[in-house]
Each structure stands twice: as structure tokens, then as C-alpha cells.
Symmetry: C2
Subunit: 113 residues, 2 copies
């Protein structure tokens, strides 16, 4: 997923949403403002480093907003932006589609058998 092979906007969104974390983070952020450590607790298996990188990616994409509160210990809050909120129903629609088409996949012969 390094370079784009088309000028298609779809390919560009997928550059941001691809992977395990982006949609999950959006999913948890729609519950409201979250701190770094809260998101870490929401996703126990995400590494410190990846959480940081993914949040930055979402920030660059205009999906997430980052607010730093000076003081000690540090305090940083993450929110969905307006664009991020607009994205939520689209992602949900994908989830619904997946659930609704579950029977289609059930027809696939089990290769593990």
C-alpha cells in the first residue's frame, strides 16, 4: 500500500482506513472524547507505537482532532472531527452490509474440513 496506482478517491480513502486499527479507533471515538490511555484500554492489543502512528494518520486525514493540555502529567484528548463524524455512518453501513450478507459466505464450502 505504498504508492497509489490510480487517481481514484476510493483508493485514497482505503489508504487511510486500511488495516486493523483505523476503523476500530473511529468506532471507539464515536463514544466521545478519549485520551490516549483510554484508547489503549479500549484496544488492549494495540501497541503504544501503533496507536500513536494510527492516530496521527487519522489526524492528517482530517478524521481525528488532537488537543493537548499543558501540565504534568501530560494530557491529550482525541475527538472525531466533523468529517470524522460524517464518516461514521458510512463505516456502519459497511458493517451492516457484512452482517446482512453473512449467509452468502455460509454457502462457501469449509476448506478446513
Amino acid at each position: 500500500m505504498k504508492d497509489l496506482v490510480s487517481r481514484c478517491p476510493i483508493e485514497e480513502v482505503m489508504r487511510v482506513l486500511s488495516g486493523r486499527w483505523p476503523t476500530l479507533l473511529i468506532y471507539y471515538l464515536k463514544e466521545g472524547t478519549k485520551r490516549f490511555s483510554e484508547l489503549q484500554r479500549d484496544n488492549p492489543t494495540v501497541s503504544h507505537r501503533m496507536l500513536s502512528l494510527e492516530l496521527r494518520k487519522l489526524e492528517q486525514a482530517g478524521i481525528v482532532e488532537r488537543t493537548v493540555f499543558d501540565g504534568y502529567p501530560l494530557r491529550v484528548e482525541y475527538d472525531l472531527t466533523r468529517a470524522g463524524l460524517d464518516l461514521v455512518p458510512l463505516i456502519d453501513a459497511l458493517g451492516d452490509w457484512w452482517t446482512e450478507t453473512d449467509d452468502t459466505r455460509a454457502l462457501v464450502p469449509d476448506e478446513k474440513a
Copy 2:
């Protein structure tokens, strides 16, 4: 993206759609039936192997249907299934969202400067 970390359907769809090729292949397949070699021509940078693997993944997910015609040389055709066709507008919506929120990203300071 190996194992799921939640039972969330969104995470499951993203397992299928993540990466450079799935959405691109769906994009080209919505033009109609395509043969393996046609898809290869549509995406000149996809490797033989990856195209094969990705098509199988989409097939397992119930998005793409594979039809083999006996004879020589071999001939295999790929189509979107009903579920695949239903998925198209959802993916398009993501593309539209991306285009519409382009100005948000334009506000991000250029780190390459």
C-alpha cells in the same frame, strides 16, 4: 491484520477490503464480467500471484463469483455477486466522502516543507 480483536462486523469487513487491491478490483468489476488477464491489464502493477490471492479472498467473502470454462486455453471469468453489487454504492460513498472532505486535509500544514 491476522486475528480479530473484536466481534465487531466492521473489523471483519475491513479484513476483506483492506489493502490496495480489493476496492480496485471491485471498481473494475463493476464495469462487468472480466477475465483474469483483463483484470491484470486494468491493474498493471498487481502481480500475478496477488491478483490470484485477492480474487480468492473476494470470492470467499461472497463478493466475487468465479466461473471456469473448460477448454484450452483456459478461460475464467469474474463477476460481482449480488452482495458485491450491493457493496459498490457503499464504497462509492466512501470515495465521495473523501472528495468532499478534501479541504479539511488541505488545512494540514505540509510536513514536507
